[in-house]
């Protein structure tokens, strides 16, 4: 249904009312996603297309960023460790930092900027140019075609991109360690796998799934509810990035508390 103006009188002040109405709308949007994702017909072709766009087309940027993060973090950590004569711990330190926090966080923030804004702008422009209405009148469910496919694609692809970023960052780190400490690839990765636990990997994967879902759902929600023509499209893209980045940090903080609690059990 197209958006209709709400002529009810605000209960509290206008801003507070708008905030809670926004929350309720967002909750209904998330709920609708879960209702429709398991209901046929399934748009597999569009899902694969979106997975390709989100995953494969993000690879160059993710590769470069992951690689640089690996090198820079190793370089920055070396002096502190060397002070205690513990530079041999570099692979362990880097692996823990990359797998537990930096890999998921860096990937999610880059994806929020690249993928989230593109989803927000694309769906927003479809909304203001009546393409979503055109889908609806041709008896196609636009929510299923546009939202379900994109959110599912980000939820699938972000964890895969995180694993890839982890690998690339560790390779960057290895090159740095190898150049300075003459450590071989086998020794480096032996130390890496010795330091990270099953819980680290699983928490990283689950966190990435949550980040991917957040990026997709926020981008789609902002685009799907954009108004006021081209200005609204810009706003949708912008707020998709800002809100998903904000939520990613909140989720990271919550995930950290949960994982630490599990670790201390």
């Amino acid at each position: 249904m197209a958006e209709e103006a709400d002529d009810r009188k605000p209960l509290l002040s206008k801003k507070i009312d708008k905030f809670f109405k926004g929350l309720a709308d967002a909750w209904n949007f998330v709920r609708r996603y879960f209702q429709e994702v398991f209901m046929p017909p399934f748009e597999f072709k569009e899902l694969i297309h979106q997975c390709y766009r989100i995953g494969v087309e993000s690879l160059p940027l993710i590769s470069l960023t992951g690689f640089i993060v690996g090198i820079v973090f190793t370089n920055q950590s070396r002096p502190s460790l060397s002070e205690f004569g513990a530079s041999s711990w570099l692979p362990s330190l880097i692996s823990i930092a990359v797998v537990r926090a930096m890999g998921p966080l860096v990937t999610a923030l880059i994806a929020a900027g690249k993928v989230g804004s593109s989803i927000g702008a694309e769906i927003g422009s479809m909304k203001v140019t009546e393409q979503i209405d055109a889908m609806e009148v041709s008896a196609t469910n636009p929510f299923k075609f546009l939202v379900v496919t994109r959110v599912t694609a980000t939820t699938i692809m972000i964890p895969l991109l995180v694993m890839y970023t982890d690998f690339v960052a560790l390779m960057g780190s290895f090159l740095n360690v190898n150049a300075n400490e003459m450590v071989s690839l086998t020794t480096f990765f032996f130390q890496v796998f010795e330091s990270i636990t099953f819980l680290d990997i699983w928490s990283s994967v689950l966190k990435s799934i949550l980040f991917g879902f957040t990026i997709g759902i926020v981008g789609c929600y902002k685009g799907y509810n954009s108004t006021k023509g081209t200005e609204g499209v810009g706003r949708a893209a912008n707020s998709a990035v800002v809100i998903s980045m904000f939520l990613i940090f909140i989720e990271e903080l919550l995930a950290l508390q949960i994982v630490n609690a599990i670790r201390n059990m």
Partner: protein, 250 residues
């Protein structure tokens, strides 16, 4: 009298304090073209969006092909939508798809068991009918405004609708392209035997395409009838001024 395919009774619609439709009545009979004229923001597009269930009325009844649109469940509403072709003001072609994919989109989702060859034939036939077979592999961004309108019409015709709705078909086009679009509306009417509602504020378009006119002003149809009936003896000042500000060939 021919069968009524659209029947609007006492239709009201407001957006907040803005009362767009204040109890309008309109009939569309099989095979005829009704033109709804009115100023921008008069509620013309709202009226046809209620017809396809994109908006819901506050009160009144909108009956299309004998079915009360407001009361239809999603499945029945979608079945009804397949019988209605909606040509949007800005064509609403899917930007990320080629012309061929745009035409294929409603086809593959609504007609099952079509072979690749049958789909291609249908698409070619539709593009021929709007005179643009050469655009098949082009992107919407590579088309002119008039071409986009034509492709938009072809996309709606591909499901063989019984009713065609044209939302501002000539808006933003040069006079020659406007004439081409007007002729296309008449050709579609003749070839596919559709019943049509044309929303416009272009009186040339109204005169060339419409069997009956309905002038929507201040939320109500102020004048209804043939073009001559509505404008030659217009007593309503607003209807008169609507005519005076449009250039009409005698």
């Amino acid at each position: 009298m021919k069968e009524k395919v659209v029947e609007a009774i006492g239709l009201k619609k407001s957006f907040g304090d803005l009362h767009v439709l204040k109890g309008v009545d309109l009939d569309l009979h099989r095979g005829e073209t009704v033109v709804i004229l009115g100023k921008s923001g008069a509620g013309k597009s709202v009226f046809i969006k209620i017809m396809v269930g994109l908006l819901t009325q506050d009160s009144g009844v909108m009956r299309v092909l004998g079915q009360d649109v407001e009361k239809l469940k999603t499945k029945a509403l979608n079945a009804l939508r397949l019988k209605i072709g909606f040509s949007f003001q800005n064509s609403a072609l899917y930007d990320s798809m080629t012309v061929k994919e745009n035409l294929e989109f409603p086809l593959v989702r609504n007609i099952k068991n079509l072979s690749r060859k049958e789909k291609d034939l249908k698409i070619e036939e539709m593009l021929d009918s709007v005179g643009l077979p050469q655009t098949i592999n082009q992107m919407p961004s590579e088309l002119s405004g008039g071409q986009k309108k034509r492709i938009g019409v072809a996309r709606t015709l591909i499901l063989n609708p019984e009713i065609m709705l044209y939302d501002e078909p000539t808006a933003g086009l040069d006079p020659i392209t406007c004439m081409d679009i007007n002729n296309l509306i008449n050709e579609v009417q003749e070839r596919y035997r559709t019943s049509s509602i044309v929303i416009t504020h272009d009186l040339t378009c109204a005169k060339v395409t419409g069997d009956r006119m309905a002038v929507l002003l201040d939320g109500q149809f102020r004048s209804k009838g043939s073009f001559q009936e509505v404008f030659s003896k217009a007593e309503d000042e607003q209807v008169k001024s609507f005519y005076d500000y449009n250039f009409i060939e005698s």
